[in-house]
Symmetry: C2
Subunit: 96 residues, 2 copies
């Protein structure tokens, strides 16, 4: 499944920036960063649970906001993107 | 349906901040802001088309990134949130 993780933290503080870096690192292990605070993670149920657990350990619940949106397949029907960055679809064949 | 709109723009420039304000205004007409650049919009197909059209007119495709994630019902199964802000569910009864 594809899980969209969005994360809100003030990057004005050093601690906030550090948390954002850690969140990105955790998410990038199972997906990719598509915006500053938006990650698309392709996971199975077990990985999703682990992702959630790891992120909850990282965030500061008093200051941050963390959201998970689980998309149903086929994902193509449910995602649209516009603008300067195009996310890489790792599931499609890579033609060089 | 519930459409998640995420928007990435550098707010370092005055023009960028202005676009972000406009994007927020367009989205808030059909939903609510749940994070700095994440909006949850409850729309029907026609409203979704209009939302997309309006946002595409607003953004700068050279500099910004705009994404739409369409969630299937029941939405409760697909959304999780943690942290300091709890989105208001306008569909639930408001008990005072």
């Amino acid at each position: 499944m594809l899980v969209i993780v969005t994360y809100d933290v003030s990057t004005l503080t050093k601690a906030g920036r550090k948390r954002l870096r850690h969140v990105a690192k955790i998410c990038e292990a199972v997906g990719q960063r598509v915006q500053q605070s938006v990650f698309e993670c392709r996971v199975n149920s077990m990985q999703y649970e682990e992702l959630e657990r790891n992120l909850l350990q990282e965030i500061n619940q008093e200051e941050d906001n963390l959201r998970f949106y689980r998309l149903t397949e086929p994902v193509d029907l449910h995602v649209k993107e516009y603008g300067y960055f195009k996310a890489i679809d790792f599931e499609k064949p890579l033609i060089l």
